[in-house]
Symmetry: C2
Subunit: 246 residues, 2 copies
DNA sequence: GGCACAGCAAGAGCAGTGCTCTCTTTTTTG
DNA sequence: CAAAAAAGAGAGCACTGCTCTTGCTGTGCC
């Protein structure tokens, strides 16, 4: 796989990476709409036509950047919670991290990490959580990386539920929503009561609503101390999903 | 003002409106990135250079469309709640609409109207609540139209508070957030306790997070019955701001 | 009423874009 | 070593936003 498959293959992946790096640089500087294949090629000292050997179209380049962005923000979320899925559950876990404070700590850590990544990479964030690029439909391959942040949030709630510290949300739940929640839980292979799943999905969307509003300027002249406001709201969201008493 | 200020002025506003209409049509068909001044001019049967007499640049056309979109979605929100600000408070209001059910009804009506408008005008929605167009900074004039939806939501909560049916949210509130909330309430000239204001701002952002996720495809293969899910979540949001017991 | 002038339309043109085609060079493979 | 595959380079097409110059026309002033 990663063996030296000849200088050509090595050069190809190197150049592919260089193109993406330069594209990301332009993205950060000017935004997705101003990303120009010709400018990337110019900066890399190659003919613009040569670039089409690596990415058949501008949209394909954008797709690659979108995938990378999903993975980057997902990785940031996972790194913020050492007990996230994919890590082996070690023996000390049950005794050490399952009390309410620790669970809330994990929750806020994941949320804060997502926001930090977004603030550090606003244009890449806009690429994946802003308006979809016109005429572009996300290929199937983006589905899994796109779910990583959600899974990191789910992991915290799942652990809380497993340890019995989760306060199930009250309130009515229509049959339609309950069905949706059950189907989703089955597909993701998680064991959570339907009301919790429903609230979790809503909270997931709301978290990004918060971040998007901050990043896209809707909080301009409305909220100044965004750090404090975000921390406060994330804590309320945690209470909403049942990680703490309201 | 609206008098016949000569055929010239009349023609000017007519043509300006025609340009915006055609631009909106292209926006709906292809999205903001593919909006082309030349194509608009072509469709209107005029030279592309002539269009610059009406809008000095493509960004200026977009700004006009953004303003219109803010006003349209704001109007939709206000129309959904006959007691929204700007309408004279009539005598029957206090006796008729201040019980819990009526308040929740007003709340869900406003939220549903906003979502409906968004679903009906996805590209215009993306223009105002999606990624900001690169290199474009919203002029001061957008601030007021942008706030109309928020004001419609505030009106419901304000009335609930005034009639004493509002359940103030519990939970700690940091000094920073309390200060922000008080400053905002003062600027908007509304009388609400700081915790309520803070929750209201967060809920406002969360509502658009929900709509954006639905519209931008994040709920693809996650939530199918979006109507039911939205209704359920909006009800929870209402409870969150204190319009109903949780 | 005639007239200067501001507002308007049109065309040519510039610099830039995504993308395709052909032609040459380089590297891998049989 | 020769054939084949891959990669680079350049020209070219159709398109974009935008500017400049050249005429035309409706409007208010004398």
């Amino acid at each position: 796989m990663t063996a030296i498959r000849g200088a050509r293959a090595r050069a190809r992946s190197d150049i592919t990476a260089a193109i993406k790096d330069e594209a990301r640089r332009q993205l950060a500087a000017e935004g997705a709409a101003k990303l120009s294949l010709r400018a990337v090629a110019r900066e890399l000292g190659m003919a613009s036509s040569a670039l089409y050997r690596y990415f058949p179209s501008r949209d394909d380049l954008l797709t690659a950047l979108i995938l990378d962005a999903y993975n980057a923000i997902g990785e940031a979320a996972e790194a913020a919670d050492p007990t996230a899925p994919g890590r082996p559950a070690d023996a000390e876990r049950d005794t050490a991290v399952d009390d309410v404070d620790a669970l809330i700590g994990r929750w806020t850590a994941v949320c804060a990490a997502v926001r930090s990544w977004a603030l550090a990479h606003p244009h890449e964030y806009a690429l994946i959580y802003g308006s979809p690029v016109p005429g572009y439909h996300a290929p199937r391959a983006t589905a899994e990386p796109a779910g990583r942040v959600a899974l990191a949030l789910i992991a915290v709630v799942r652990d809380a539920y497993a340890s019995g510290t989760l306060q199930e949300p009250a309130g009515p739940l229509s049959d339609a929503v309950a069905g949706e929640a059950r189907a989703l839980a089955a597909e993701l292979d998680i064991e959570l009561p339907a009301p919790v799943t429903a609230v979790l999905v809503a909270t997931w969307a709301q978290l990004f609503g918060l971040i998007s509003f901050e990043l896209f300027g809707q909080f301009h002249r409305v909220i100044e101390d965004r750090d404090a406001f975000f921390a406060h709201t994330v804590r309320r969201l945690a209470a909403g999903v049942g990680l703490a008493p309201p």
